[in-house]
Symmetry: C2
Subunit: 143 residues, 2 copies
């Protein structure tokens, strides 16, 4: 039951929430021992704040939940590849695992030759088509 | 009067505040038309939050002050070279100018071959010795 697809589907629900609020649709959940300890979606427009990416909010609220700033034994499921800022934050958080839906060739950290913390395992391409399609649809409507 | 040294001295005061709170002493001010619109210091320990770097908080609060997420016509004075996370955030914010006190060869963005937004001008080495010394002293005491 608790597959990567299961949790990515919940992250995608968060992205849909963002979509309906006119935000670039990226969503995220943080899971520890198969429990969701944080969920969030992009809120940069609503909060007028470039730092309010889904991942940043999820890191802050997962740490709040755990009572410590390191996200050990935690997995983040995020619908879109994190940007440079979020990659840097994930590094500081030393998260155990990062699961990415769709790649973001332009803005994502991978093409910038940045790497995650040595303790962080990474998987990509989970529900890739759906995670990518919601972003494309968002920008199609705004053209 | 409103020289780079003048504002960096105020950023350094923020770093001293951090120092007295047991935080890695990094401080920051954001200036627009010679007015300080945000000031902050590192709060990662106090808030149990890896994202609570001085620069991140200053970006959020400057945007709040301006009522918009882009920090146009703003200069950030920060005592230590920003990390990857903060560099990413400054990029999103399209800040006009970044003034750095001391370099951070290990954790700073410059050695990672990252660059700031094309619209961002950068200066380094303002009150470098003092900005560097406070960090060194902090770690010397903890050894």
């Amino acid at each position: 039951m608790f597959s990567d697809e299961y949790f990515m589907r919940l992250a995608l629900k968060e992205a849909e929430e963002a979509y309906h609020q006119g935000e670039i649709p990226v969503g995220c959940v943080v899971v520890s021992q198969n429990r969701i300890i944080a969920r969030s979606h992009n809120l940069t427009e609503t909060l007028n704040d470039v730092t309010a990416h889904a991942e940043m909010q999820a890191i802050t609220s997962a740490a709040e939940f755990l009572g410590g700033k390191y996200l050990k034994n935690c997995t983040m499921f995020v619908t879109l590849e994190p940007c440079v800022m979020c990659c840097g934050a994930l590094n500081w958080a030393q998260i155990s695992r990062l699961v990415i839906g769709a790649r973001d060739e332009q803005r994502g950290f991978i093409s910038k030759n940045l790497s995650l913390h040595p303790r962080t395992e990474m998987s990509t391409g989970i529900l890739e088509a759906e995670c990518s399609e919601i972003v494309k649809q968002f920008f199609r409507e705004r053209r």
